[in-house]
Symmetry: C2
Subunit: 153 residues, 2 copies
DNA sequence: TTGTACTAGTTCGAAGTCGAATTATATAAT
DNA sequence: ATTATATAATTCGACTTCGAACTAGTACAA
């Protein structure tokens, strides 16, 4: 018995939601890339951060799934990181088709330094936005993400 | 006077927040573009929707500000819409430097039809996500967006 | 052992993004 | 009027994105 008649204002609310998401995404990208040196982009940083938070030595495939991003895009991102000496790609000894992505020492240092720079911006934002609000939103956003992820055919 | 010592978990929360934002943005883009016909993209639709919701006849400059997007990107988007006959660019009679963007009848019809298609997806999402949660997030997201917007130097 | 099907990653190409330079027009100052 | 400065939009070019085709390697069946 779920009511399959959706409320009249459902659509506008969702639209407004996606609009805000889009703008915040854009603003955060601009903010990040203004801080990151040397043409390092958000996708670059995201990969470094992921490898450090979760574990390095992962395959590109696995990471593509984690980020919900096409393999071809990731190939490009990884090539950029490797060219800058921040990661190392090795053959996967267990499976010749796949590879493993390892952080270099430079990569680890770079990520830590970047975190430091970004922390300044975060602190500035934190002055103006209640952390409690962020903690309210976070689980709700996660839920939206999970539902949308499942809805993909 | 403001405490410049931010809580220890501020940074991780903000990171997680931006990560969710990024993924939801990506998922919503995929969802939208699967529905929109004929190579029409999210930026295209966003412009149409904005012109209809707010008012058409606006200048590209004004819209670029509203969307937080570079002028050069918008030029490209508008060119696509004009090529498809969904908008019309006219000289601004009050200022020869600028232009005005007007919806065509085709453009209006297209937007209405697109809304109908997207409403189906929204209804599906709405079945699984409480509208109250959306209404909780919306003002908080708006606030984040406004603060970030102001923080741009 | 060969064949068939599958999977990981890359390459290719078409399209989108956007900072910087450029063009056209407007406004202000003298 | 002339010049200087500012603003709206476009063009240019370097770069990113990502679907589809391709290459290399694996698995399993007969």
């Amino acid at each position: 018995m779920a009511d399959d008649r959706t409320s009249k204002d459902t659509l506008p609310v969702w639209f407004a939601f996606f609009t805000e998401i889009g703008i915040i995404n854009q603003l955060s990208r601009a903010l990040f890339e203004a801080r990151l040196p040397d043409g390092v982009t958000v996708p670059h940083f995201t990969v470094l951060n992921h490898l450090m938070r979760v574990r390095d030595g992962q395959t590109p495939q696995r990471m593509a799934e984690a980020f919900q991003t096409p393999k071809a895009s990731l190939t490009n991102t990884l090539a950029g990181l490797e060219a800058r000496g921040l990661i190392e790609m090795r053959r996967n000894p267990d499976d010749g088709r796949s590879k493993q992505v390892w952080l270099t020492e430079t990569g680890r240092a770079f990520r830590d330094q970047a975190i430091g720079l970004l922390a300044q911006d975060a602190a500035e934002l934190a002055e103006q936005i209640d952390l409690a609000d962020m903690k309210t939103m976070l689980p709700l956003l996660e839920n939206v993400r999970k539902v949308m992820d499942k809805a993909r055919d």
